[in-house]
Symmetry: none
Subunit: 194 residues, 4 copies
DNA sequence: AAGTAATCGAGACGGTACGTCCGGTCTTCCT
DNA sequence: AGGAAGACCGGACGTACCGTCTCGATTACTT
């Protein structure tokens, strides 16, 4: 009846969880994914390997968790009244972050996820989805205001805007310069206005 | 005139090169990147590990080389006279390929490249650049014909078209369905026509 | 009193230790030192290489350990009352052993120790020293009985007796025949009696 | 008639032979046997590996050859008229040499020979035998002069004198100090005089 | 002068073992 | 029931030498 069925035995150590995330974040920042081995994380956190395995299925999972915990930068969307403005500002924030350490690490995380389906799932849930949902709000708002056509394929539209950033981040065939958001927004919106 | 500078010593074994690429391609196809270990490649090719290391710096490099060798599908661009047609057809060919084994492997290759700058370089040179250059030809042709504005940022434009495919391939937040090319081309061209 | 300082963690596997020694001894007997590679020992013992490295620093160390374990022939010294008899009998036992497989292996072990100081140390502690100490007892007993002069340099004396056996074993310039002990004892004792 | 049957083809390069011996000796002196790899010798000599293999069967063979070439110290036996004097002086010369680099290397050579019968053979021929024969001369001379008994087992006698030096060199259970020759000669001769 | 034959340099090759690293799993005791 | 400690098996890493092999280039003696 009582939902919170009190579990027997020693409860999970919150201290251990924090220590693991902290250790992983540090390793991640100055050594990239390569440095985030279960061995190293456990050692640095002063925790046994088994404990890490108990709560995270793989080193990738620890890394994503630590990353999201460490870079939990607010997904700021101001409402300027102009959808172009809103999108452009948000993209600039993201681009600025991706120009630094956070970008290199995100690239490695997505990279790692390509050979670990579970990690891809986690990455989507913890990083991608929240951002896309926030963007969707902006776009719906713009449609209501009549700034955008109502028949747009919003998923494809968002990909046109954001995928180039991730693509350049990962392939580095072109630089991630500051006017890129403006260009992308301009070109994408040109055919999307009502 | 150009004396072919005959190098001393035993010449490189073409047989070994072929065997390695073949072995790597096979391993890649039925096992993904995880199966492409230097050890396995060498064993399967009937070649010593040292020989592999001699000509390829890393397992990633072997894999990319083998991939490009194996999937050297022609980058077909018909000239239909209509830029939208041309782009859409090419994208469909690519999308079809990426829906199968080749897509999963490409995702892993890009993934691997995130923790190996040399590999990223190779991937750009061997896979990305040739395709972008072919696309550039199409776009320039369209501009000359007056189908596209002349002041477009072509690099950004190409990213708007192709990055979504790679992005969906890697994140799998949305399916790679067959009408995606049409949608992307339509939305992107809407604001790009003269 | 001395609390046996219970160490934390999983205790060392006695099973693994035995298996390694057994495997090494077998390899040693039918293949000599050349067959005792860390790889082969580990494989034959059904143990991981790391485990072997954990407890033995080198293949030489494993070999010596296995040798002493395998050929832990009693260092029998009967007390016949006559020092010449005692020495001669002991030397004959040793010579008989060295005429077979054990001799060839011991030669290889000493050989290996020439390029591995740690191994030389081990060899001295595990093989040479116990035998020399047993011999010292016999000599001291003889001195007390008045069978030998008290001012002998016992270390040099023991070398005169035993070094020729090892020397012939290693150089094979002369055979290790059964009357050698008698000759050596006779000549050495001739000038050593009181 | 002319014994030196002139062989066709390019004659062996004396330059290469010298270069190999020189290179091997240098490597031997500052790096021991471990440094004398076929690879290193060839590289240092500016000679191809095949050339080395052509004239020496193994690295051990090169090393012994280089050693004997480098340390071709005269086997001096003065004839003082007293056999004890003669032996002791010769042993002191040898002991002095063995206290330095030459000793360590000789130990390694004998060590190496334990797993290479061909090398043992070479070592005997090039190093041991000449010295034993010179010693035999001294002993025969002493017998003629009536300083030694005629029924001695000379081979065993020589072993009693010299084996301890090699034994201590290799096992290092006791130091190779300067008064050792005197002790050995005294004890050995005590029972060997007429 | 042309032919023959052995040698030489360079260096690629298949192979074996090295010593290390990490991933996961296990066993033991402590809390 | 956790958790810390740490030993364990397995697999791959990248490297070092081994001994063999193909090359083209030399260097003599033989016709």
């Amino acid at each position: 009846m009582t939902s919170a069925a009190v579990k027997p035995g020693r409860p999970r150590s919150e201290r251990a969880r924090q220590a693991v995330l902290k250790a992983a974040a540090e390793l991640l920042v100055d050594g990239g994914m390569a440095a985030v081995t279960m061995e190293a994380v456990a050692a640095r956190a002063g925790v046994s390997k088994v404990t890490v395995y108990k709560w995270w299925p793989s080193r990738g999972a620890v890394a994503v968790d630590a990353y999201c915990d460490h870079y939990r930068q607010t997904i700021v969307f101001e409402d300027t009244g102009d959808v172009a403005q809103d999108l452009q500002r948000q993209m600039k924030v993201m681009l600025r972050a991706f120009s630094g350490r956070a970008g290199a690490i995100m690239a490695e995380l997505i990279g790692q996820a390509q050979s670990d389906p579970g990690l891809r799932e986690t990455l989507r849930e913890r990083w991608i989805s929240p951002r896309r949902e926030a963007t969707l709000l902006v776009l719906h708002r713009a449609i209501e205001r009549g700034q955008l056509r109502g028949d747009l394929d919003l998923e494809a539209f968002m990909d046109e805007l954001y995928a180039p950033l991730y693509f350049r981040l990962m392939l580095q065939h072109q630089p991630l310069d500051q006017q890129l958001p403006a260009t992308l927004v301009a070109q994408a919106l040109a055919g999307a206005r009502r």
